[in-house]
Symmetry: C2
Subunit: 283 residues, 2 copies
């Protein structure tokens, strides 16, 4: 695996691979099996697999966990070596946001709902860094996790609107044995918070059971989820949203193949998200 710690180094390495189909997995590091499932699929579908590790400051709010965000580059490198990654791109912040930095991508209308309600500027930061990374890596395909479903929808819209020659693949959520969706932020949880947090996947399992039993009214599904999330006082619900996949508007009745049931909670100071996707976000 070639490790490129600068744009110059990436620019030197990529042309040597000309003619190969490039697959790309952008990450913020502290890799878990969710990330590695993306790398594996990328390896299967492309000649060249590029992974980036970059904790992107533009997608963190001023009161968020940029400084504390977990990092373990040595372990990440070992994991990616084992997956036969071809190129690992680990740029420095100073180079990615060379001052004065002024250009931001806004995917208007999709950035205010769900997580956007409490994370203003988050999707602007995500869209900006993903476009920058696409321009640097020039992938034919890029791989994202379904856990960040809103992110996937924002990026899908950006790709369409800006005519980017990239296909995206959205891969299923990978869960721990207790059901909690894997997230680099799970490391923040105390044992009691983790126990409480299990209500999040449980609430979505309840939603799945209702949907498969024919329930279509969003309100019924939402109430069942809320009841589950209200079980433990350590857990605070941020939102439960049942929306369509085009504009993320709340829908009173779920649409087969076109619905996202998503929730965000706080367990102590840790924010967790999870979702149930009725449809496909790849394009």
């Amino acid at each position: 695996m070639k490790i490129c710690r600068s744009i110059q180094s990436l620019h030197t390495e990529l042309p040597a691979q000309a003619g190969k189909t490039t697959g790309f997995v952008p990450t913020m590091g502290f890799l878990h099996q969710g990330h590695l499932s993306l790398v594996r699929r990328c390896r299967e579908e492309n000649d060249l697999t590029v992974v980036s590790i970059f904790v992107n400051p533009a997608q963190f709010g001023p009161a968020e966990d940029l400084q504390q965000y977990p990092r373990d580059p040595e372990k990440d490198i070992a994991l990616l070596e084992k997956e036969n990654t071809d190129i690992l791109f680990m740029p420095e912040n100073d180079e990615m946001y060379q001052q004065p930095f002024r250009t931001y991508i806004n995917v208007e209308g999709l950035d205010k709902m769900l997580c956007g309600q409490t994370r203003p500027g988050h999707f602007r930061g995500v869209a900006t860094v993903v476009l920058k990374l696409f321009n640097l890596v020039c992938p034919a395909r890029a791989y994202f996790g379904q856990k960040d479903a809103q992110q996937a929808i924002v990026i899908r819209q950006m790709i369409r609107d800006l005519h980017l020659p990239v296909q995206i693949r959205i891969l299923a959520i990978v869960r721990d044995s207790d059901g909690l969706a894997l997230s680099s932020r799970n490391v923040y949880l105390s044992p009691a918070e983790r126990q409480a947090a299990l209500s999040l996947p449980k609430s979505l399992q309840k939603a799945a059971v209702l949907v498969s039993s024919g329930v279509e009214e969003s309100q019924v599904i939402r109430e069942s989820m809320q009841k589950e999330l209200d079980r433990d006082p350590l857990l605070a619900t941020e939102y439960i949203s049942i929306v369509n996949l085009q504009d993320l508007q709340e829908i009173p009745v779920i649409e087969a193949g076109n619905t996202l049931i998503a929730a965000a909670v706080r367990a102590g100071r840790t924010r967790l998200i999870d979702n149930l996707l009725l449809g496909d976000l790849s394009c």
Copy 2:
């Protein structure tokens, strides 16, 4: 010359030219010698010359002249044929802004000064369409006129920030025999307005004389320009700005090689801009 009226048609045509260096001249049509100077330079420096004609609605304000903007596609085609243009891309609005369209590029801080003061959203529209066109045409070099100096500075910043593999060339202002900078909008002017409008280039000539005689104080230059612009009651000054080329901030003393002296006026209902560039905007 191959005329592509759809993205599909452009996508069919471009790969046939693979391996050639592509130069690109984005325009809004109603071509004049200023545009054609860009096309000629593009021809000299590249294997393949692509010109686009697209009156971009996103860069017009609601009270601006989108509907009236002059159009003459037959004449434009004839002019571009004569210049041996290889590909003319003339997309439809519905295809460039396929609904729902949501993704916009903001080059923050450079979009509020000079023309941005009276044209909110203008540079957001410019940056967005230029990035879209770059993504469709994939040029190695793109050509813009110095008359729209702020546009050039915004695009230069966007290219840097987003790591776009495009060089831009900013070519000198082409003027009519009476000194007025060529602009598609000059067609709006009545004979009396046109006569009044000549104070705009004259004011910049005065600035040039002052600068070459060693005057450095912006205030002195601005006052001399204002005096010239105040000559004719048909002319209303919108701004006179003396700014640096990095952040477009007003500077009290001009900096050799790093100063833009720019003005905007209204002659009747027609808005005109012109400038004197002390420096180079190509990159």
